[in-house]
């Protein structure tokens, strides 16, 4: 049998690294590194190595289940149809689904005649997405090249825990040119703050107010935030000079990039998202980019917004994130998570490696993936929707048209949102411990001491 290499992409975060699979006949044998991919040049984070389990995990769901008993497809679909047509139905679309699947889900909701459809993913991601809707004239999304070529990076949150593959680009900024700055806003010492030239250690949860403080310096307008910079600095837990210095070094750099990692440890992710975009317009050649923790968070949300419009938000945000995690784990058929939500009917889905689909990633590029393996037993969401109702689904271009319309914008008042940031109270002290390169490890310390004294 001849072994062939097939290219695909990892969707465990919205960076979208490339990777390869070694296939033998129809079987996927091994995972390999895609050195020619411009996104990651072959590197892969620990999570990325689990991509192969999307195909050949031993516990994958193969048959549809009703109340945890295997049934035939017809029986299960009939049950779903009955559930959908009787009374109020809510549809949750996982943020790991392809654009085509999300489009079909929106069509399904339209044909059922209600608007109870929402994207399920990490709650912080969805909150941050709301910030993209606030209109900022002149704001630009950075590409991945911009990050590597910037002279100043402003990083909010621990991006390297989410997408470690970015560290190559962050290193290129840090060691590239003398005078390059990396400003990290994070309450903890994290993997990201190791690389910081200026680490703003704020109180936990105060990221939004810290950014509002930076905006106050750069916009140079006393009316917009009814707080003096000193009060902001005191509330955030930083000396005023440090805020001033960070703002100045950011605006003075010839080119800059703001990287934001939404997280549950931050308050008001939408405000942070909005402020990063406003910050990028305050001086020339600055751009902003947000990395979500689910691959297709942008694409799914844009499709639902464009096709359904104003939707009721789910009643319980906690339920949202919990359901979202269950939906996101569909591919490995991690039944424990689904049993926890006590699903009546379980339908196995084809993973994105077994199905054709397009995905919209953090920098706005659209990645189209071809299937690399035959399906184990699942159907794609598209086929399930078509089996449920007679949908009229257009070609691929129709999905692209919807995506290209982009995030719907609404006008907001900057001053009002700045004052909302004022009301944020800090969280309790963060439980994370200090992380250092050397720490208490005597072995490494000895090496370093020896090198310095004898080198």
């Amino acid at each position: 049998m001849v072994k062939t290499l097939k290219r695909s992409a990892c969707l465990f975060c919205s960076l979208g690294c490339g990777l390869m699979f070694r296939t033998q006949g129809a079987e996927v044998v091994a995972l390999d590194y895609d050195k020619e991919n411009p996104v990651n040049n072959g590197s892969l984070c620990p999570r990325g190595h689990y991509n192969i389990e999307l195909i050949n995990h031993p516990q994958r769901l193969v048959h549809p289940q009703i109340k945890q008993k295997p049934v035939s497809w017809d029986e299960a679909l009939l049950e779903v149809k009955r559930g959908l047509t009787s009374g109020e139905a809510q549809i949750a679309v996982s943020c790991l689904m392809s654009n085509e699947d999300a489009y079909c889900a929106a069509k399904l909701a339209q044909s059922l005649g209600h608007k109870n459809i929402w994207a399920a993913g990490a709650a912080a991601d969805l909150e941050a997405y709301q910030g993209l809707k606030y209109e900022v004239p002149g704001a630009k999304t950075a590409t991945l090249e911009d990050i590597g070529n910037a002279e100043c990076l402003l990083i909010i949150g621990d991006i390297l825990t989410r997408s470690p593959v970015l560290s190559k680009r962050i290193n290129r900024v840090k060691y590239g040119k003398r005078g390059n700055r990396i400003i990290v806003i994070d309450p903890d010492t994290t993997h990201t703050s190791w690389f910081a030239t200026e680490h703003l250690r704020i109180r936990p949860g105060m990221e939004a107010l810290a950014l509002a403080g930076l905006l106050k310096v750069l916009l140079n307008d006393k009316e917009k935030l009814h707080l003096s910079l000193d009060t902001v600095a005191e509330k955030v837990g930083l000396p005023t000079e440090k805020l001033l210095q960070a703002a100045n070094s950011f605006s003075a750099a010839a080119s800059g990039c703001i990287i934001f990692a939404p997280g549950a440890d931050k308050k008001r992710n939408d405000l942070i998202q909005y402020f990063t975009r406003v910050l990028s317009t305050t001086s020339v050649n600055k751009k902003s980019i947000t990395f979500y923790s689910y691959g297709n968070c942008l694409g799914v949300n844009i499709i639902l917004d464009q096709m359904i419009g104003d939707r009721p938000t789910p009643a319980h945000p906690a339920e949202n994130s919990r359901l979202g995690n269950a939906a996101a784990d569909y591919f490995t058929s991690d039944s424990t998570e689904l049993v926890e939500v006590s699903a009546d009917v379980l339908l196995p889905l084809a993973s994105h490696l077994e199905d054709k689909g397009s995905f919209m990633l953090a920098d706005g590029r659209i990645e189209s993936l071809d299937p690399i393996a035959p399906r184990v037993g699942g159907k794609s969401f598209r086929e399930i929707c078509l089996a449920l109702t007679d949908l009229k689904v257009g070609g691929e271009n129709e999905v692209l048209d919807v995506i290209n319309r982009g995030v719907p914008q609404k006008k907001v008042d900057l001053a009002e949102l700045l004052n909302q940031a004022r009301l944020i109270e800090p969280l309790a002290a963060s439980p994370r411990e200090e992380i250092t390169h050397f720490g208490d490890n005597q072995l490494v310390k000895n090496f370093f001491w020896y090198r310095v004294n004898n080198g």
Binding site: L31, Y33, K35, N40, G42, S43, L44, C45, P46, G48, H49, I52, L160, T161, P164, V165, L166, S167, K168, N171, Y175, H191, T192, W194, F195, R432, E433, E434, I435, T436, H437, F438, G439, D440, N441, L443, V444, F447, F448, Y450, R451, V452, G455
Partner: protein, 160 residues
């Protein structure tokens, strides 16, 4: 000329993708040692494949042996799990797996090396901290470049 894996601590972001790649390629058993510097800070410790390996000298059953291609390899069949090499290694690289009663040891990805590819940990490294280079070349680089003053394994490599 022999090639070895080098770690630049300045670039390492501690994401442990090297360990994941290693485990992926070696039956879910990572062969890398790790410095436990904190809850999440664990830069990798690579086997240096010494010229006079202490682990091979300590091994009672000749399981650990210097090969003709200048690497130190552990025989799966001869190893009795006595942990002598763990104690003998001057760099603390060999860390025992107490559940399987063996001492996992880096083999420089023999299967990939035979095809002319670089080891898995270096391929997967997200930050460019790990490099696979010829031993003497790295030493020359280090003299020129002060930024690489913290290349730990480089310093060890020079004094072998």
């Amino acid at each position: 000329m022999v090639s070895r894996v080098y770690l630049n601590l300045d670039l390492c972001c501690g994401c442990r993708s090297c360990a994941a790649a290693c485990a992926y390629g070696h039956h879910l058993q990572s062969l890398l040692g790790h410095n436990k510097l904190g809850p999440t800070a664990e830069p990798p410790l690579h086997c240096l494949h010494c010229e006079q390996p202490a682990c091979a000298a300590a091994c009672p059953n000749e399981a650990m042996q210097k090969q003709a291609d200048q690497t130190v390899q552990r025989s799966h069949f001869k190893c009795v799990g006595c942990l002598s090499c763990t104690v003998a290694c001057p760099f603390g690289v060999i860390q025992p797996d107490l559940s399987k009663h063996i001492t996992p040891k880096c083999d420089l990805c023999l299967d990939r090396m035979s095809k002319g590819e670089i080891p898995r940990c270096v391929s997967a490294c997200t930050s460019g901290a790990l490099s696979f280079a010829e031993v003497d070349e790295q030493v020359a680089d280090e003299k020129k470049n002060l930024a690489s003053v913290r290349i730990l394994s480089n310093f060890i490599g020079r004094r072998r």
